[in-house]
C-alpha cells in the first residue's frame, strides 16, 4: 500500500523525511520503503511567474513571454498553447539540463532571443502531459528548484501491509500508525454533508438474499452530478499512490477507498433497472461483462449485485459495464457495503481477478465506518461534481459486528516482554498498567483497569482491528509500539538433553562414507514425468502420487524413484563434456498405498567415464560394473555390515548380464548394474553408466557405527597362492564361499588376484588366482602346518569344482 507524504499530512503532522518515516514504520509496523521520484538527471530548472504574454510577430503558434524567477527576469519564446500571464511555470535556464540529458542554452526563434525554455511535465520527467507547459500552482516560491519542490511533494512510502491488517489498506490507517509511532495526534477527515429531499428511501430498493454473505448494504443517491475532470489536489493524491485519474466520480470512489480502506462503488442510477438492487449468489452459468471488458461466466461461489434485469456487479470485486458511470451520467447510486471476506476471496480467486476492492474486503473492512465513508463520498460528489445528495440512505442489514473486549494481565505482558526484572534502570521504567494503556490507546484501543483486579486491564478493541482477538495480540501491539529493540535478549540456557534420530544419523553416516569414496552428493527435484518410474525400472504396481496443480505440466508426479533425476544429472553433465561422473543422492521417494502415502529414504548413485582421475600417468580405463560393486562393498565394510551378497537381478533398465541384487545378512538392500543400451538411448545418456540403488531403511538397521577392538596379531602370517582351473560357469563367490567353509581356523584372509580365460587354457575353462593367508594367534606357524591347511583346502576345491591346479 502506497501513501504519499503530502496525503498523510492531511491527517497527521510529519516532520520526518520519507526515508526516516519508512525506517520508523519498519521498526513499529511492517517493512516500509520509499519510492522516490525519478528526476532523471534534470537540473537547473527553476520556478518562474509569467508576467506578460504576447504573440510572436512572425509566428502564429509562438508566444513571447516575460518571465520572472526572483533572481532575474527576461524574455522566453514559447510554443505551448496554455501559457497565461500570472501562471507559475518551470523555466529551464541556459545551462540547465532536462530529460534525455538535453542541455538548454540561449536560442533565437524566428528572430527573437529566448533566455531558456518553459518546459512540460514530460520534459521534466515527472509526468506524461506533453500538451503544454507544466502549471506548478501557486504554492511554489519564485526561483525555487522545481525538481526539489516536486520531489518533496511526490515523496511516497510503500508499506508492505500484512494479510491481517485491513486498516492499513487505507492512508488514514497508515496515518494512525504514523501518529502512534511519532507521538502525534490523528486528525480524522472532516466534511459537511448537505442533504436535500426527496428521501433516498423512495428512490431505491435493496434486498439481501443471505446476510452471511452481506451483513450490511448502504445505498445513497446523488443527483444532478456533472462528470468531468477532478481538481488538481485530488489528481495529485491519486497520482502519489500510482492511481490514474479517470473522472471526478470514479476518482472520488477511488480516493475514499484509498483513504478509509473501504471500497465504495458508483453505479449510473438511471441505468439500474427497476431501481432495485438485490445481493445474491450467481446461478451456475450466469454471465456478466465486468469493467475490464471481460465476459465472465459465473457459478454459485460468486456473490452478485443485481438489478431488475440481472447481474450488474461482482460484489466486492468489480463493477459491470452495463451500469458503469459515463460522461453522460447525471445521477449516481453509491454502494457502501460489507461483504464476507471468504466469499469475496473465493470469488476473486476463482476468476483470477484480484482487484483493489477484493484485496480490502478479503481482509475484513471496518464494519463501523461505512456510514461515515458513504457520507464522505457523497460530500465529495456534491463538492466536486455539483451533485445534490438525497436525504438519508437505504441501509439493509444490521451488520455482524460484535465488539471485542479482552482482559489483559499486565503481569503476563511483563512475563513475556520483561521476564524476571530483565529491564534494568538504564533501559527505562518497567511496563506497568499505565505504560501498557498508553501503548494501546495511541493505536485506538480503549483501556480501563478492572475494579476487582488491579492486574487486569479491560481492553476494547477498535472495530478496524479484526486481527486482535486475545491477549497475545495485544502483547504484540505493546511490543511493537515500544519497539522490539527494547526487549532485552536473554542468554539461552540448556535444560533439555536432545535425543538422537538414529535413522537420520545413519543417513548422515552413509553420506559421509560416500563422499570419502570420492562421490559428489547431488540433490534433485522431487517431481518426475508421467511414466518415468516405469522407465527407470520401478515395478508397474507402484502407484505414484499425482499433483493436482503441478507447476511444470511435464512433471506431474512425485518421484517413485531417484533414478529419473539421477539419470538427468548424468545426461546434462555428460553433455557438458565431463570426462567422469561419480554422483549419489540420498532422498525421499513417494508412493500411494491405498489411502496411505508412503515416504521412503533411498540412496541412488551413478558412475560413468574415467575410472581414474585424468592425469599424465593414469590409464584411460572406463568404469565398469566392478567399480560400482566395489564401491558398495567398500561402503559395506565401512558400515561393518556382516556380509554383502550379490545375486541375479532383473530390472527394466539394467543390462541383464551386468546387474546384481545386493543383500545384507540375507535380506535385500538394493541393487547395482549397468544401464542397458536400450535404456541409455531412451534416457539420452551415454553407454556404460553404472547405477546403484540402496534402501536406507533396510541398510540403517544392519550397520554398526563403532568398531570393536581385537588384539593385533603378534605372529607372522604365511601366504599361499593357488590358481584353480574351473569351468567358466563356476562363480567366484561359490569358490570363496567353499574356502570360507572349509578353511579352518588358521585361514585369516583370502583374495582373488587374477581371473584368466584364454588361449593358454582349454576352451570352456578359466583360471582363478587366489591368495590365502594363514596365521595362528598362539604361535608362529611352521611351513608344514600351513601346507597341511592349504592342501586340505585345495583338495576340497578340486573335488567340489572338478578343478585342476594351474602351474
Amino acid at each position: 500500500m502506497k501513501a504519499g507524504l503530502k496525503w498523510l499530512r492531511d491527517y497527521v503532522e510529519i516532520e520526518l523525511s520519507a526515508s526516516e518515516l519508512a525506517e520508523r514504520l519498519t521498526e513499529t509496523l511492517t517493512e516500509t520503503e520509499t519510492t522516490n521520484l525519478q528526476s532523471g538527471g534534470v537540473s537547473g530548472v527553476v520556478a518562474a511567474r509569467i508576467v506578460t504574454v504576447e504573440k510572436h510577430p512572425d509566428a502564429d503558434k509562438l508566444s513571447v513571454c516575460v518571465v520572472d524567477w526572483g533572481d532575474g527576469s527576461d524574455t522566453v519564446v514559447c510554443g505551448a498553447p496554455n501559457v497565461q500571464a500570472g501562471m507559475m511555470c518551470a523555466l529551464a535556464l541556459p545551462g540547465s539540463t532536462i530529460t534525455g540529458g538535453r542541455r538548454i542554452s540561449e536560442a533565437t526563434l524566428r528572430g527573437l532571443r529566448s533566455f531558456g525554455m518553459l518546459v512540460s511535465e514530460v520534459e521534466l520527467g515527472v509526468g506524461d502531459d506533453a500538451a503544454g507547459i507544466m502549471d506548478l500552482g501557486p504554492d511554489i516560491e519564485l526561483g525555487a528548484d522545481v525538481i526539489g519542490f516536486l520531489g518533496t511533494n511526490a515523496d511516497t512510502i510503500d508499506v508492505d501491509v500484512q494479510a491481517n491488517r485491513p486498516d492499513c489498506m487505507g492512508v488514514l490507517g497508515i496515518a494512525r500508525e504514523v501518529a502512534a509511532a511519532t507521538g502525534r495526534g490523528l486528525k480524522r477527515p472532516s466534511f459537511e454533508l448537505a442533504e436535500s429531499a426527496p428521501e433516498t428511501a423512495g428512490m431505491i430498493d435493496v434486498t439481501i438474499e443471505d446476510d452471511h454473505d452481506c451483513p450490511r448494504y448502504i445505498a445513497r443517491v446523488i443527483s444532478g452530478i456533472k462528470v468531468g475532470e477532478s481538481p488538481a489536489w485530488l489528481r495529485e493524491r491519486l497520482d502519489s499512490v500510482g492511481v490514474r485519474s479517470i473522472n471526478n466520480i470514479v476518482d472520488i470512489t477511488n480516493f475514499v477507498m484509498l483513504e478509509y480502506g473501504q471500497p465504495v462503488h458508483a453505479f449510473d442510477y438511471d441505468r439500474i433497472h427497476d431501481h432495485a438492487i438485490s445481493v445474491r449468489r450467481a446461478r451456475s452459468g450466469e454471465k456478466l461483462v465486468t469493467l475490464d471488458g471481460e465476459d465472465r461466466t459465473l457459478d454459485q461461489s460468486h456473490l452478485l449485485i443485481c438489478d431488475g434485469a440481472g447481474p450488474i456487479a461482482l460484489a466486492g470485486i468489480m463493477g459491470g459495464q452495463t451500469s458503469e458511470v459515463t460522461q453522460t451520467t447525471s445521477n449516481v447510486l453509491l454502494e457502501c457495503a460489507w461483504f464476507d471476506p471468504s466469499v469475496v476471496r473465493k470469488g476473486a480467486q476463482g476468476l483470477a481477478l484480484r482487484s483493489d476492492a477484493s484485496q480490502r474486503f478479503e481482509r475484513g473492512v471496518d464494519p463501523l465506518a461505512m456510514d461515515e465513508v458513504a457520507g464522505r463520498a457523497c460530500a465529495l460528489m456534491s463538492d466536486l461534481a455539483g451533485g445534490t445528495v438525497r436525504r438519508g440512505s437505504v441501509s439493509v442489514g444490521s451488520g455482524s459486528y460484535e465488539p471485542v473486549n479482552i482482559r489483559l494481565s499486565v503481569d503476563k505482558v511483563r512475563r513475556m516482554l520483561e521476564p524476571n526484572g530483565t529491564r534494568g534502570e538504564e533501559s527505562g521504567p518497567r511496563l506497568d498498567a499505565a505504560a501498557v494503556s498508553e501503548h494501546l490507546e495511541v493505536l485506538g484501543f480503549q483501556t480501563k483497569v478492572d475494579p476487582g483486579d488491579s492486574d487486569i486491564l479491560v481492553v476494547a478493541v477498535p472495530s478496524w482491528r479484526p486481527d486482535v482477538t486475545e491477549s497475545a495480540d495485544l502483547i504484540e501491539e505493546i511490543a511493537r509500539s515500544s519497539g522490539y529493540d527494547r526487549v532485552k535478549a536473554l542468554v539461552p540456557y540448556q535444560s533439555l538433553s536432545p535425543v538422537r534420530d538414529e535413522a537420520r544419523d545413519a543417513r548422515g553416516h552413509i553420506r559421509d562414507i560416500m563422499v570419502r569414496l570420492g562421490l559428489f552428493e547431488i540433490i534433485t527435484s522431487s517431481f518426475m514425468a508421467e511414466g518415468a518410474g516405469e522407465r527407470a525400472g520401478v515395478d508397474g504396481s507402484v502407484e505414484a502420487i499425482v499433483l493436482a496443480n503441478p507447476v511444470n505440466k511435464e512433471m506431474p508426479l512425485l518421484r517413485t524413484s531417484l533414478m529419473p533425476g539421477l539419470l538427468e544429472v548424468v545426461r546434462t553433465n555428460a553433455n557438458a563434456s565431463q570426462k567422469a561422473i561419480r554422483v549419489f543422492e540420498i532422498g525421499k521417494v513417494f508412493r500411494r498405498d491405498g489411502k496411505a502415502i508412503e515416504e521412503q529414504w533411498i540412496m541412488a548413485g551413478a558412475l560413468w567415464g574415467l575410472a581414474e582421475r585424468p592425469s599424465w600417468g593414469s590409464s584411460a580405463r572406463a568404469v565398469d560394473f566392478y567399480d560400482a560393486k566395489g564401491l558398495i562393498e567398500a561402503l559395506g565394510r565401512e558400515l561393518k555390515v556382516d556380509t554383502l551378497e550379490a545375486s541375479c537381478y532383473d530390472s527394466a533398465i539394467l543390462d541383464e548380464g551386468a546387474s546384481a541384487r545386493l543383500s545384507a545378512g540375507g535380506s535385500p538392500v538394493g541393487h547395482v548394474g549397468t544401464v542397458s543400451q536400450r535404456s541409455a538411448e531412451s534416457w539420452g545418456i551415454p553407454d556404460g553408466v553404472i547405477v546403484f540403488e540402496l534402501d536406507m531403511g533396510a541398510l540403517s538397521t544392519k550397520y554398526t557405527a563403532e568398531g570393536r577392538y581385537e588384539d593385533l596379531p603378534r605372529y607372522p602370517a604365511s601366504g599361499r597362492d593357488l590358481a584353480l582351473v574351473v569351468d567358466v560357469g563356476v562363480a567366484a563367490g561359490e569358490i570363496l564361499g567353499e574356502i570360507r567353509r572349509c578353511g579352518g581356523e588358521l585361514l585369516v584372509d583370502m583374495s582373488i588376484f587374477d581371473v584368466y580365460a584364454g588361449k593358454q587354457l582349454p576352451a570352456g575353462k578359466k583360471s582363478v588366482g587366489i591368495s590365502l593367508k594363514y596365521r595362528s594367534r598362539e604361535r608362529t606357524l611352521t611351513d608344514e602346518e600351513v601346507d597341511r591347511s592349504h592342501e586340505l583346502i585345495v583338495k576340497r576345491l578340486t573335488e567340489r569344482f572338478t578343478a585342476t591346479l594351474r602351474e
Partner: protein, 334 residues
C-alpha cells in the same frame, strides 16, 4: 679388463637411452644385465682371477652393475611417460585420487544444525506430503484467509498437499509430546511458483521451536542473536522488527547487517544495510489450543529460515535453481 668394462658402460648407456619401447628396453636389459651378459660372465669369472685383481675387478663390476641398473630405471621411467633426464621432474603434477563432496545445501544444513545442537535443540522430521490441518489450520491459517496467499500450494490428487514450510513439524511434535520441547526441523519444502533466480518451487527450510513454562520474547531474541553470532561472528548487527505470521504473536522479521557492505548500503541489501534472514515470534495461543496445550500454562517461541538463501549469501550463488541442477562444474566450485 677394467677398460673393457668402461667401454661396456658407455655402450650400455647409449642403448638404454635409445630404447624406444618396453620391448626394446627388455632386449637391452637382457643384453647387458641378463644371465649371459658380458657383465654377468665377468662376475662369474672373478673366482678365477688372482686375489689382487679379483678385488679390483670385482669392485668395478659391482659399480658398473649398479650404474646399469640405474640406466634401466631411468629408461623405464622415461618410457612410462616420466621426465626423462636425471631424477624426478618435480614440476609435473601429482596423481590425485577422486575426492567427493557433499552438496552445498547439505553442508549449510550441517553448519546450522551444528549450532542449534550446541544450543540444546534436537532434530525432528516430518512427511513432505502433508494435510491441510498440519500445514495450515493448526498453524492458524484459516481457510480462505489472505494469509494463505504467501503459500502457493501444490495439492495432491485424492487429498493432501506438499508442505509449504517446515512448520507442520511443530504441530506433529507437539501433538505427540508434552513440553518442554526444543526442536529444529530441517527439510525440503514446496511452493507452487514458477522458478526464477530467487524462487524455487522446491527449497529448504529450517524451523525452530521451544515450548516450556514462561518462555519469553527475550529468550527468542537471545537464541537468535546467539545463533547469528555463531554463524557470522560476534560483531554482526541484528535487528528485530514487526512482522506477520499467523502462527506467532508477536511476530518478528529478523534482519542481519548486510555481509557485503557491512551496513553501508549496496545492491544486495537494496541500500538498506540489512538483509532479512529469519521469521520468528512467540507461538500463537491458537496454535497451542490446536494441539491441546493450555496457553495459560505454557509459552514458546518459533523461528524459521531459508537454507538456500543462507547458502547463497555465504557462497555468492546468485541463482537458486543451480542447487537442484547439480552441474558438476558448479558443485566443484562450492
Amino acid at each position: 679388463m677394467i677398460d673393457r668394462l668402461e667401454k661396456l658402460r658407455g655402450e650400455a648407456r647409449k642403448q638404454f637411452e635409445s630404447a624406444a619401447n618396453e620391448k626394446e628396453l627388455e632386449d637391452v636389459r637382457v643384453l647387458f644385465l641378463g644371465r649371459k651378459s658380458e657383465l654377468n660372465l665377468a662376475a662369474r669369472g672373478l673366482g678365477k682371477l688372482p686375489p689382487d685383481e679379483r678385488r679390483l675387478v670385482g669392485k668395478a663390476v659391482n659399480q658398473i652393475k649398479n650404474e646399469l641398473a640405474a640406466f634401466l630405471g631411468e629408461a623405464k621411467e622415461r618410457l612410462a611417460g616420466g621426465g626423462g633426464g636425471p631424477g624426478l621432474d618435480l614440476t609435473l603434477p601429482g596423481r590425485s585420487p577422486w575426492v567427493g563432496r557433499k552438496h552445498p545445501i547439505t553442508r549449510t544444513l550441517e553448519q546450522l544444525e551444528d549450532i542449534f545442537k550446541r544450543l540444546g535443540f534436537e532434530v525432528a522430521l516430518g512427511p513432505h506430503v502433508e494435510d491441510d490441518f498440519h500445514n495450515f489450520e493448526a498453524l492458524n491459517f484459516p481457510k480462505d484467509h489472505p494469509a494463505r496467499d504467501a503459500h502457493d500450494t501444490f495439492y495432491v490428487e485424492g487429498g493432501g498437499l506438499l508442505r509449504t514450510h517446515t512448520s507442520p513439524v511443530q504441530i506433529r511434535v507437539m501433538q505427540t509430546r508434552k513440553p518442554p520441547i526444543r526442536i529444529i526441523a530441517p527439510g525440503r519444502v514446496f511452493r507452487n511458483e514458477t522458478p526464477d533466480a530467487s524462487h524455487g518451487s522446491e527449497f529448504f527450510q529450517l524451523e525452530g521451536l521451544y515450548v516450556d513454562k514462561n518462555v519469553s520474547f527475550g529468550e527468542l531474541k537471545g537464541v537468535l542473536i546467539k545463533f547469528l553470532r555463531e554463524l557470522y561472528g560476534d560483531d554482526v548487527g541484528v535487528r528485530l522488527r514487526p512482522g506477520f505470521f499467523p502462527f506467532t504473536e508477536p511476530s518478528a522479521e529478523v534482519d542481519v547487517e548486510c555481509r557485503i557492505c557491512h551496513g553501508k548500503g549496496c545492491s544486495v541489501c537494496k541500500d538498506t544495510g540489512w538483509v532479512e534472514l529469519l521469521g520468528a515470534g512467540m507461538v500463537d495461543p491458537r496454535v497451542f489450543r490446536a494441539v491441546g496445550y493450555d496457553p495459560d500454562e505454557v509459552s514458546g517461541y518459533a523461528f524459521g529460515l531459508g537454507v538456500d538463501r543462507i547458502c547463497m549469501m555465504m557462497t555468492g550463488v546468485d541463482d537458486i535453481r543451480l542447487f537442484l541442477e547439480n552441474d558438476l562444474r558448479f558443485l566443484r566450485q562450492l
